[in-house]
């Protein structure tokens, strides 16, 4: 480690000490020195580790090691590409299908949460990743879907599959209502306004007692059912209620697959390319004839309708919904998934959703540190690796071309 690094470590540690001492040391009126020492130690340790890692990466021996590993990596890559793409995909789908049969109820429930967040992440990915519009109120559309199903089902007894299109339509309309006034705004204004809209929807759900029962929420919605033909005596129709956890798991898995297909098709379509053009340079896109206004609205509407579908499922699964499910922090978690996965990248978003929902379940005793770590990871990701875990291929190529041009 160079001398300047050591000096920086000392200065940073001192600053950290100043910041941590009063905040951590006085949880009550009495000073708690041990607590300060532990927290300070953890942070300084992390800092020291990151500096050691940085110097290591700069050193020659590290690069020699990398060079020696290169043929090995190539061999692995060859083996990976030797198996066709669809085989990998089939393997993953098979694994996800078998999972609930091997898992207990609790693990299946975690699986459902995972899939819900994958869908939400992919939906937000359209708005943030493809069109480049920062949306901090995304969870509001999820709430629209959940409340549409709850209210229609409770008041009029409308079944799930009929509510679904209604939820999609209402979600899309809500997306347009939120999107329209914000279209002319720049990124940061947009962020605040969408955050404001998200909170307005939550406050309305919370305060409109007559319709939504306020903070108590709504309960007693019926579960979705499947209708299938029977031939026991002539042609008849039988109803199969999707009550068990496994049935609900397969249902959300189906929704996830449709979402993945939908989003990847959108990504490769003319519309997807137009969105990317808007993200990269809106003025240039407008000048080359991309109808930016309509496409931005479309991005909002589509992103919102994906969330509304999952929202409907969520309300049906729990048979319960209340406004506190849709707080700002939830929007942050979904945004975190998109950001960590790599803005615009579908496999990245899926992996990030699995990691961010499964890891907190594994470390349950560290549950309370979850959001702390998310926030830290979000800022660190932007500073260190803005392209995400798995960068979108198009973006990666752009970055490579830029690097070659330099």
């Amino acid at each position: 480690m160079a001398k300047s690094d050591l000096k920086r470590l000392v200065i940073y540690s001192l600053f950290l000490g100043i910041l941590i001492l009063p905040m951590v040391g006085f949880p009550t009126a009495h000073f708690n020195g041990a607590r300060v020492a532990i927290v300070w130690g953890v942070f300084v340790g992390m800092l020291a580790l990151s500096m050691v890692f940085k110097t290591l990466r700069k050193s020659d021996s590290f690069h020699d090691g990398l060079d020696r590993l290169a043929p090995l990596r190539q061999a692995w890559a060859q083996k990976y590409t030797a198996v066709p793409h669809w085989a990998w995909l089939a393997l993953v789908i098979l694994a996800v299908c078998i999972y609930p049969l091997a898992a207990n109820n609790y693990l299946t429930d975690v699986g459902i949460t995972c899939l819900v967040y994958i869908c939400l992440g992919l939906g937000l990915n359209i708005v943030v990743g493809l069109a480049g519009l920062l949306d901090l109120g995304y969870i509001a559309f999820y709430a629209v879907g959940a409340y549409t199903y709850s209210l229609l089902n409770l008041n009029f007894g409308v079944p799930f599959w009929v509510c679904l299109p209604a939820g999609i339509a209402l979600g899309a309309i809500a997306g347009c209502i939120i999107g329209y006034p914000t279209l002319k705004m720049r990124g940061d204004y947009l962020a605040i306004v969408t955050m404001g809209f998200g909170e307005i929807i939550r406050l309305v759900l919370n305060n409109w007692d007559k319709l939504t029962h306020g903070p108590n929420g709504l309960f007693g919605m019926s579960k979705p059912t499947l209708i299938y033909p029977t031939f026991t005596d002539g042609l008849g129709w039988a109803v199969y209620p999707l009550k068990s956890l496994n049935a609900l798991y397969y249902m959300i898995f189906g929704i996830t697959i449709l979402t993945v297909i939908g989003v990847s098709r959108l990504n490769r379509s003319r519309i997807g390319r137009a969105w990317v053009a808007i993200r990269e340079d809106e003025v240039a896109a407008e000048l080359t004839g991309v109808p930016t206004m309509w496409l931005k609205l479309l991005a909002y509407a589509l992103g919102a309708s994906f969330a509304a579908v999952v929202g409907g499922f969520f309300a049906a699964k729990l048979s319960y919904t209340n406004p506190n499910f849709f707080i700002f922090m939830e929007s942050c978690i979904v945004l975190c998934i998109v950001v960590l996965g790599g803005v615009g990248s579908i496999p990245g978003v899926i992996i990030a959703a699995v990691v961010l929902t499964a890891v907190p379940e594994i470390f349950r005793n560290l549950q309370e540190y979850r959001m702390l770590a998310f926030g830290f990871a979000m800022a660190a990701m932007m500073v260190l690796r803005p392209q995400g875990i798995i960068p979108e291929s198009r973006r990666k190529r752009e970055l490579q071309i830029d690097a070659e041009a330099d």
């Binding site: 600053f15 100043i18 910041l19 009063p22 905040m23 951590v24 006085f26 949880p27 009126a29 927290v39 943030v128 480049g132 920062l134 901090l136 006034p181 914000t182 002319k184 705004m185 720049r186 990124g187 940061d188 204004y189 962020a191 605040i192 306004v193 955050m195 404001g196 809209f197 909170e199 307005i200 406050l203 309305v204 305060n207 809106e282 003025v283 700002f328 922090m329 942050c332 945004l335 975190c336 950001v339 803005v343 309370e368 540190y369 959001m371 702390l372 998310f374 926030g375 830290f376 990871a377 979000m378 800022a379 660190a380 990701m381 932007m382 500073v383 803005p386």
Partner: protein, 306 residues
């Protein structure tokens, strides 16, 4: 109580609340003016200031310092809270914003948001989930003016915020550093060519803005009697609405916007169902952005809207 004195009473409350919003909004506006970034972590700085004020105040109370040297205690409480938050502001700028100064806007905003989540959860873990009570040192004694009751605490808070704003005004307009700040806000490259230390200027901005927010946090704690780790969120939205309303980047705009938001909120709570008062702030914010995004005193630069 007749209608006139009720109205005057509400106006007094509005000015009181408005001056707190104005102080927070100033932090936003200054940071936005100089690096064109919404400092999402500003609400958390406000909360951090409130917590440090609480810690110092409780420590002084235990020593019996509050009774013997009341004024000195208040000075210490405000000074230490502001100093701590200034250090916090500089640290955050250095870690999360400085490396992204040339990166895309989206990255910078996301980094700011990540910092905000990190800080608010850090405070939750270190200071607890529930409300922490402030010692009621300001008391409820007061006087009656034209039928409206004003406590000495309210008067003190309003006067202190006016003093702080005036000091800021003098600093920005009459000192070398303030001049450097204005120059950097206008054109960074040109300022650097003229020998202004841009990094240092930005750092100073990140000390003053959060320090003002911290002062507002201590005021809220002293007056309302409690602090909570997530109280920064709603104040942040309101102060942001104030900054936008007055014209972001403009210091008198932030003061005016803060007052207007204070009046709107207090008047709404006085005459209309108060559970909707938070919705009104959002509606005001969205209407302003839609109808006149440059705000009342904003410069209306068309470049900013592209």
């Amino acid at each position: 109580m007749d209608a006139t004195s009720f109205f005057i009473q509400q106006m007094v409350n509005a000015i009181f609340l408005g001056s707190i919003f104005a102080l927070i909004a100033l932090g936003y506006t200054m940071v936005y003016g100089i690096i064109q970034l919404i400092n999402f972590a500003h609400g958390e700085m406000f909360t951090a200031g409130a917590f440090i004020g609480l810690i110092v105040l409780v420590a002084f109370q235990k020593m019996g310092f509050v009774e013997s040297h009341f004024i000195l205690t208040l000075i210490f409480v405000f000074a230490l809270a502001m100093a701590y938050t200034a250090v916090l502001g500089v640290a955050i700028e250095h870690v999360a914003y400085k490396p992204l100064r040339k990166a895309s806007r989206l990255s910078a905003i996301l980094s700011a948001l990540g910092m905000s989540i990190f800080l608010s959860n850090g405070m939750m873990l270190s200071q607890g989930v529930s409300d922490r009570a402030y010692p009621p040192v300001l008391g409820w004694e007061g006087f009656t003016l034209a039928g409206a009751r004003i406590t000495y605490g309210q008067l003190f808070i309003v006067i202190l915020s006016i003093v702080l704003m005036y000091a800021l005004w003098i600093f920005v307009n009459n000192t070398r550093l303030g001049k450097a700040m204005r120059a950097t806000a206008q054109n960074k490259t040109m300022s650097r060519m003229l020998g202004i230390n841009v990094d240092k200027t930005i750092r100073v901005t990140f000390m003053i803005g959060p320090a003002l927010g911290a002062a507002a946090g201590v005021m809220v704690g002293l007056y309302y009697g409690s602090v909570r780790f997530d109280m920064g969120f709603i104040y942040m939205i309101k102060a942001f609405a104030a900054a936008i309303l007055g014209g972001i980047g403009s210091i008198p705009g932030a003061m005016l916007g803060g007052l207007i938001i204070g009046v709107v909120e207090v008047m709404w709570s006085a005459f209309l169902p108060s559970e909707w008062k938070d919705v009104t702030t959002f509606v005001v914010l969205i209407l302003v952005l839609y109808l006149k995004p440059s705000g009342i005193l904003g410069k209306g630069d068309s470049e900013a809207r592209v």
